[in-house]
Symmetry: C2
Subunit: 207 residues, 2 copies
Amino acid sequence: MKPAERETGAAILAAAAELFAERGYAGTTTRALAERAGVNEVTVFRRFKNKQGVLAALAVAVNDASAGQAVAAAPDPEDTEATLRALARQEVRQTVEFGAMALRLALDARSDAEVAAVVGIGPQQTFSGLVAYLDERQHAGDLRADVDPRVMAEAFFAMTSSFVFSRQVLADATRYELSIDEASGPLFELFWNGVTAAVVPRGGDGS
Amino acid sequence: MKPAERETGAAILAAAAELFAERGYAGTTTRALAERAGVNEVTVFRRFKNKQGVLAALAVAVNDASAGQAVAAAPDPEDTEATLRALARQEVRQTVEFGAMALRLALDARSDAEVAAVVGIGPQQTFSGLVAYLDERQHAGDLRADVDPRVMAEAFFAMTSSFVFSRQVLADATRYELSIDEASGPLFELFWNGVTAAVVPRGGDGS
DNA sequence: CGTGCGTGCAAGTGCTTGCTTGCATTATGA
DNA sequence: TCATAATGCAAGCAAGCACTTGCACGCACG
């Protein structure tokens, strides 16, 4: 076999991950994909048959990559704070690594059946799983009980995804340089304080 | 003049807002735009010259629509909680109304010069403005001082945008039905509690 | 009554897209 | 040494894209 044989496929997938994140699925042309991968456009089709084939292969690769970390995330389910903190770190890591791409593809999936067929199973499971866990820890008394666990889960994912979110939406000029560790610690504390705070009686619910 | 004359432009802009939100700028074809607006494709070009012209007109319309509310938002800058709560409500409202479109267009703007030329000024100003305000209220002693105001601002926007964010990213099956008012109150409290909590000494910062 | 003006319809233009085909090149392994 | 397989290159195809042109229609206002 030619020396490049194994690298070729990986180079194409790497280029696809970059371009899907930057321009979305529909916005990524197979020509641009081949160019960034440093291969001929025909090679892309010979290796993956379709543009959709590239997406499918990429989804498999990403899935495999994150499957390894997922298990080691929960040290002790009884320790709510440690569990959530670990989950937050894992989510942030994953979000930083694949988040830009995941965000764009998730958006594309809503209007592009081709994308929806391949992506779209992951995030929902994570969300419902977290809702279930938060609900359980509420009944255990670790979390304030007066907030809907779905709202909590929403806040949790908003926190972890705010990295990729604000970094994608805000322009470069506005972005600031805080490392993952510098920002994820305080960010989790904001969430944790909010979620464990005693109920403060307020007049009129903010309407 | 014909009776439809004024409605025609508005219908096209409304259709554009929907389609840009669903499929993004590049993913929206002028044919689909005309069809949803219930007009002929040629009419789109006659009224707005370009596809980009539609985007520009839409940006102006959205800008005008949100300009009116923006002023009335801040009742008393000295009252930090009331100000942030009002800002949160306004942001959530705006996010729900235009957020899906804004999210997609902001994403498109990062790879599409055509979009970037038209969109892209709004969100950054809001962000830096909030950072400045949070910084000021920190020095006034209303907010905990041990969290970077930029992190706070990120958490704030993550909170308000989590509506549109999770509703776009998560599939329909996972979405739950909580109204804006049902969710935005608790969500703000989570943020507020996190942001005003006393510093809890912890061993080892979460690394 | 007639002149505009906003609109619809049909057709078409040039460009880009995903994807294909045929052929030459090169390195590997038997 | 020779067959095989992975790649590059040049060319092209059908479809879809933004956008244009020419013509017919009808409502409004003078």
